[in-house]
């Protein structure tokens, strides 16, 4: 039997240019399967760019974006030409800074990705009901919204919207969830709820989360990677990086001397 890969994401020697501007310099990052890894660093250091390289969403900008190096997701080379982006994005979901539910009903939001990736056009209401319930239960939203699944998702609170944005990724069984500052639009209480959910999801899903919030990285991640000016400075177990950073730049950032 082939052993399941232990690395969910393996980024090696990745450089990325927006036109003439080089945003990433030979970045390496390994993310273990089922773990939560936090990406920290000052604004403009390339964290979000690196995140967006993992589902190749940067490429919507066209030839303007150039990537070199290697990125593997579950041992599969994702930069290869024969990668179907639709399949890649099914397996590597993304959660954004501002919750961005689609202007559809709650139910249709949860089913959106499922419907896109469903091969046959027939739909089975019972099956869909089950998918909606499972996904919403998984993000701890079911009890709050089960009576109003037909309502517009844009009418939910921000916390509920963000949970919904996670829930809609789950029906297509992703491996990796990329999260780009998922709590920065939320109040402290909602942030805590989201962190709890993210913690609850890891294990089943590999989570790579960009955050500006040091406390969040410390609370809600197992490993932390610090980036500065497009380079990977330090990547270690979260406790270690916060208690005993090896690099001076990391220490300066964590202690709030810049950023």
């Amino acid at each position: 039997m082939v052993e399941a890969p232990t690395l969910a994401i393996d980024i090696q020697n990745v450089s990325l240019w927006y036109g003439d501007f080089q945003a990433l310099f030979e970045v390496d990052l390994q993310v273990k399967r089922g773990s939560i890894t936090a990406l920290i660093g000052p604004s403009g250091c390339g964290k979000s760019t690196l995140l967006r390289a993992v589902n190749r969403i940067n490429e919507r900008l066209g030839d303007y974006v150039r990537t070199t190096g290697e990125i593997h997701v579950l041992d599969q080379d994702i930069l290869s030409d024969d990668v179907e982006l639709s399949q890649l994005r099914r397996h590597v979901g993304m959660v954004f800074q501002r919750p961005n539910p689609l202007p559809l009903s709650i139910r249709d939001n949860v089913l959106f990705a499922h419907r896109i990736h469903r091969a046959d056009e027939k739909f089975n209401k019972l099956e869909e009901d089950e998918i909606v319930e499972n996904a919403l239960r998984r993000v701890l939203l079911w009890d709050e919204v089960k009576d109003r699944l037909g309502r517009e998702a844009t009418g939910l609170s921000l916390e509920e919207q963000q949970k919904l944005c996670i829930a809609r990724l789950l029906p297509v069984k992703p491996t990796v969830l990329l999260m780009d500052e998922p709590t920065s639009a939320l109040d402290p209480k909602a942030t805590a709820a989201l962190e709890e959910l993210i913690w609850e999801l890891h294990g089943d899903y590999t989570i790579l989360i960009v955050t500006h919030n040091m406390a969040q990285a410390r609370r809600a991640s197992e490993e932390t990677a610090f980036m500065l000016l497009g380079r990977m400075v330090e990547h270690r177990v979260t406790e270690q990086i916060f208690l005993a950073p090896q690099e001076e730049e990391t220490a300066d950032y964590i202690e709030g001397r810049y950023g």
Partner: protein, 304 residues
């Protein structure tokens, strides 16, 4: 004066919040500009009101079942406008069938697919220029392209296509604007779930842009119904007392009919002219009202 403390008790607490000369001047200026803008709005509305008033007073009595549904008679000095009314509806309908699909598709391409290059910038410039071309030039283009080259002859088809070319920029610009008003976050969300551009456009972008697209259609309906020059040489007849049976027939049209009885038919009673104008305006208003109602119905369903 129980409240005046710490101010030397000059004249009570209101002094601190009393208007200074600067405040007074600002208020006066504010009032002046408000009056100025209000006046401009009034100037804008007055001609519209007068036009409607005059048309109603002088053309109103001419409107009757008889007038609307009978053919012109006595060398167009009497009778009704039925063939012109029907002709205008034909022209509007056929030109919409031509301009809306092409315009909406082009706008989708420009807004959702095309990258920003010298080519797309050139196309955008061409569209803006097309909007600025005088209608008589469109008419001559229509004669050359549709009547002669394409061999449609002077027909509803040639006239409608000429009108469609003329109204394309309206449809394209309105559609593009409304597509771009759909928040980028929705597209990002779709793409990140693996949706193709077309799936994104069909499920999210178009349903949310439809009310803006309708605005473009409304504008183009009004222009299509009211234009005279583009149809004069391409399909509208001076006098054609039959109802068109296909797009290859000539037809009468309201705008053209109004022009003809006002300039080329000696002895046509004024009542007839005002009645025709009133009917034309009412027709356009009815079509607009219908689309505006539909648009607000769609907007009511949209929440973001």
């Amino acid at each position: 004066m129980t409240h005046s403390e710490g101010d030397g008790g000059v004249s009570g607490p209101s002094l601190m919040f009393a208007a200074t000369p600067l405040n007074t001047r600002n208020h006066r200026l504010q009032w002046l500009f408000r009056a100025l803008f209000g006046l401009m709005t009034l100037i804008l509305v007055v001609p519209v009101g007068i036009i409607f008033g005059v048309l109603l007073v002088r053309g109103g009595p001419a409107i009757s079942f008889e007038f609307l549904f009978s053919y012109p008679s006595d060398g167009m000095t009497a009778g009704g406008i039925w063939p012109a009314l029907v002709g205008t509806i034909w022209l509007v309908a056929v030109s919409l069938v031509a301009s809306v699909p092409v315009g909406v598709a082009a706008a989708i391409y420009l807004s959702e697919y095309a990258s920003d290059s010298w080519l797309t910038r050139g196309i955008n410039l061409a569209i803006i220029n097309l909007a600025g071309v005088p209608s008589i030039v469109h008419a001559l283009f229509g004669v050359g392209a549709f009547v002669i080259f394409a061999g449609f002859g002077t027909s509803i088809l040639a006239a409608s296509l000429t009108l469609a070319v003329m109204t394309l920029p309206l449809v394209i610009v309105a559609t593009r604007e409304s597509l771009q008003a759909v928040p980028m976050a929705f597209r990002e969300a779709c793409w990140n779930m693996g949706a193709t551009r077309w799936q994104t456009i069909r499920t999210v972008v178009l349903p949310n842009a439809i009310s803006g697209i309708l605005t473009g259609v409304i504008l183009s309906v009004s222009r299509t119904a009211g234009e005279t020059a583009p149809i004069m040489f391409t399909g509208a007849a001076f006098f054609f007392p039959f109802l068109p049976t296909s797009v290859f027939d000539q037809t009468m049209a309201m705008a053209m009919h109004l022009f003809v009885i006002s300039t080329a038919v000696p002895g046509a009673p004024d009542e007839l002219k005002y009645g025709t104008a009133l009917t034309l305006i009412t027709l356009v208003l009815l079509m607009n009202a219908g689309s505006i109602w539909f648009r607000s119905y769609l907007r009511g369903k949209k929440k973001w």
